[in-house]
Subunit: 452 residues, 2 copies
């Protein structure tokens, strides 16, 4: 690839392009009100058709991957009015998507805390073979007592969880690599099915987990799945620095994102790797419409009856009292003067900035100031500008996108944001290859070479 | 249904029809030489396309289910010349099949020994929802040290394994039932997503496993998956008698099969159930061709170089010495006179019966006398006769079929055996409903009714 005509002027990103992933969750979208929107099938929570269509829309937009978070706790305190957040099963969803897409990478979370490593190894490797080399495993630890209770346990300490995670990832990569690259011969003429001397046991026994192996699955077109990680603690930096090719991040400011990205890069270096082998990918939530007002109105529709509850949140962020019955009015001069962004909430300065622009209380909230990631509520160019700024500031190698609604919300991103990024030379126009490893520019990783 | 015209005369089966399942394993078929047969793609081991096509062929034949065994040990001692026996991953295979079939039941083995119950619960329930009520879980214990080694463990005692299995099945059924039948409302107008008071924690804590729940997955069209079991020990009778609606069996004689079937029925009765709720389904292997000679020749082609090794086996079964260089000759009168069927091998009397018919040593073996189940090598009517005899003798409620080769071997069964069974009134001509529960005539099982 030659992007020399499209250089941005910033030496660190010159000629480089960003990655984009789609967050695929409960089938409706990232906003709690998505399931009630016009045009949305209220049965999408259980619809694999819907997930496949959504992944196909992302593939039309040349997204490098879809990302399916998972948390086997699924607290359902809001079930009376809201859908659970996650897929019914991330692996079955990806199996359906694998069969009905051609290029897009397939990434899901799998907990190292409450899964047997051998079971994770075989299921992700099978997906990798099934998808012809498009699988990624987001290897995380589980930290919620809600989750642990579903396994009849309590949560281990962070040290124990990460200790087990390091062993589990190492063991799983060893199982994935237990077949040499060319071990599977399947020669009908000679009758040789596989080269037995290139399929070897791994015999790893750690403090927490162990396995003899080998796995019974030959390499995929990309050798083996790619490791992702999600988390921001020092333990996360170490695990990702050692094993991961991509990090699913969460950061509200360029400064925080850049610090995170640098921490992961430094950790990779400590483990003897090229820092460019680890991509830091923070989240971005989007409500894309033809102008800001239209986008805000869409957000207001999506928020429904939740405004009073969100006003209470905003009060804490700004340290002032707000009246939930006066949603149509902007904050008073006295309120703005008294406001003090909470030091405990990194979203607070941005919330105050929006408030100072003079929007009504309802519109301030409709900007998504208390959402889980930075939020774009406006025309496509605003999303493109945000992404370019972060990318060129060394704060991100790409973004995972959570559209407000997973029907027209994905299409709006694909049709309104992607073309701008492509014109600016910041995003590819076509898949570079067939595998997720090719999409990410990650180095090859096959199995053992018993001759060495 | 009215089968009164088709009564067989036997009161216990009058008006009843048998069940048929297809064994779906490594993608080639049940014979080790299947992967080398003309017309077989040698890459089928990793091909989900192939599995889907095979399941579709079984659906064309109105089979009630496909059955995917699994043994997460996959000893690969013969990998130089033979494929491993199992699917890359049974759940991903069933996900692909679920998307590309409409009626056939989807049954896979899942070990209670080396899986977290919560993980089994959510994956089988998700499959059940995905397939619109066609999932079955073959709940077994793992007994091989080869398997245990892949989990860094040794095999627990049979008592412990079955103790954990009882807890796991009970817990999983409770998780499956943690949503009431009508708990999922998804009413866009009113904004009610679900009835929270009909989704309840299970709070089961046993000696081996526990879970708080609830699961986050609503009921499928059949409520919840159906429990299968496989095994023949007294422990197996108890587990199946308590929970299972079907048993994947293995028996070489009518007498053994009938005894097994009666033992499972008696166990069901002990647990307060109607014995007809548990179906005993032994295995049958098939090589179907236009006549016996053609079928034997096909088997000979499939056996390839393995004859000497099988002669050694046959020697032990018959208690006589056999010469592997004289494959073309029948056994001598002296050999037949000296032969004494091994009391340790239930296949031995049948092997001697075939030998006495005067077939050559090669042809004796080509009859499949040392295979894992009864074997039909001949025209379709021989399979139909076998099935009718066992069914009417109270030895089977149906059969799981292992064709020799999973291409034309399935088609041969569908085209040559199924029509005969249908004409005899022993097998349905059309699916009775949409769900596996309907196919098996199993009683409804939904979730909790918190009003009771």
């Amino acid at each position: 690839m030659d992007h020399s005509e499209e250089k941005t002027g910033n030496p660190s990103t010159a000629g480089k392009q960003m990655l984009i992933g789609l967050h695929l969750g409960n089938g409706y979208g990232s906003q709690p009100g998505a399931w009630r929107m016009p045009g949305v099938d209220p049965k999408n929570y259980t619809s694999f058709d819907a997930r496949v269509k959504q992944a196909q829309a992302a593939e039309r937009g040349k997204f490098q991957f879809i990302f399916l978070p998972d948390g086997p706790g699924a607290v359902m305190s809001d079930i009376e009015t809201e859908s659970p957040s996650f897929n019914l099963d991330v692996m079955l969803t990806l199996a359906a998507v694998a069969r009905e897409t051609e290029h897009i990478g397939l990434v899901a979370t799998g907990s190292t805390t409450f899964n047997e490593p051998y079971n994770l190894a075989r299921q992700f490797k099978a997906l990798d073979v099934m998808s012809h080399g498009r699988a990624g495993w987001n290897a995380v630890t589980s930290s919620g007592n809600d989750v642990a209770a579903n396994y009849g346990r309590t949560i281990p300490s962070s040290g124990e969880r990460y200790g087990r995670a390091h062993e589990a990832v190492q063991l799983i990569q060893a199982l994935w690599g237990s077949w040499g690259k060319d071990a599977w011969v399947h020669d009908q003429e000679s009758g040789q099915f596989a080269k037995k001397d290139q399929i070897v046991p791994i015999n790893l026994q750690g403090k927490y987990v162990g396995s003899r192996g080998p796995l019974y699955i030959p390499p995929s077109e990309q050798g083996q799945p790619i490791i992702f990680h999600a988390g921001g603690s020092p333990n996360a930096h170490e695990l990702a620095g050692r094993f991961a090719n991509a990090v699913i991040g969460a950061a509200f400011t360029i400064e925080d994102a850049r610090a995170q990205r640098n921490a992961f890069r430094a950790a990779a270096k400590r483990y003897g790797r090229d820092p460019d082998e680890i991509k830091y990918i923070p989240g971005l939530m989007t409500t894309i419409a033809k102008d800001r007002r239209t986008a805000l109105d869409r957000r207001i529709q999506l928020t429904g009856d939740l405004f009073p509850q969100r006003v209470a949140y905003l009060q804490q962020m700004l340290g002032i009292s707000l009246d939930p019955t006066r949603l149509d009015e902007p904050l008073s001069k006295a309120q703005l003067a008294a406001a003090l962004p909470s030091r405990h909430d990194p979203r607070s300065p941005h919330a105050l900035k929006i408030a100072k622009e003079g929007w009504s209380l309802r519109d301030i909230l409709a900007h998504g100031v208390i959402d889980y990631h930075p939020v774009i509520v406006g025309p496509g160019v605003e999303a493109a500008d945000h992404m370019q700024t972060w990318f060129e500031a060394g704060a991100a190698d790409g973004f995972w996108i959570s559209p407000d609604v997973n029907t027209d919300g994905i299409d709006a991103f694909v049709d309104e944001v992607v073309p701008i990024l492509q014109e600016r030379g910041l995003f590819h126009r076509e898949y570079e290859g067939k595998t997720l490893r090719e999409h990410l520019g990650a180095p090859d990783q096959y199995g053992i070479d018993p001759r060495v």
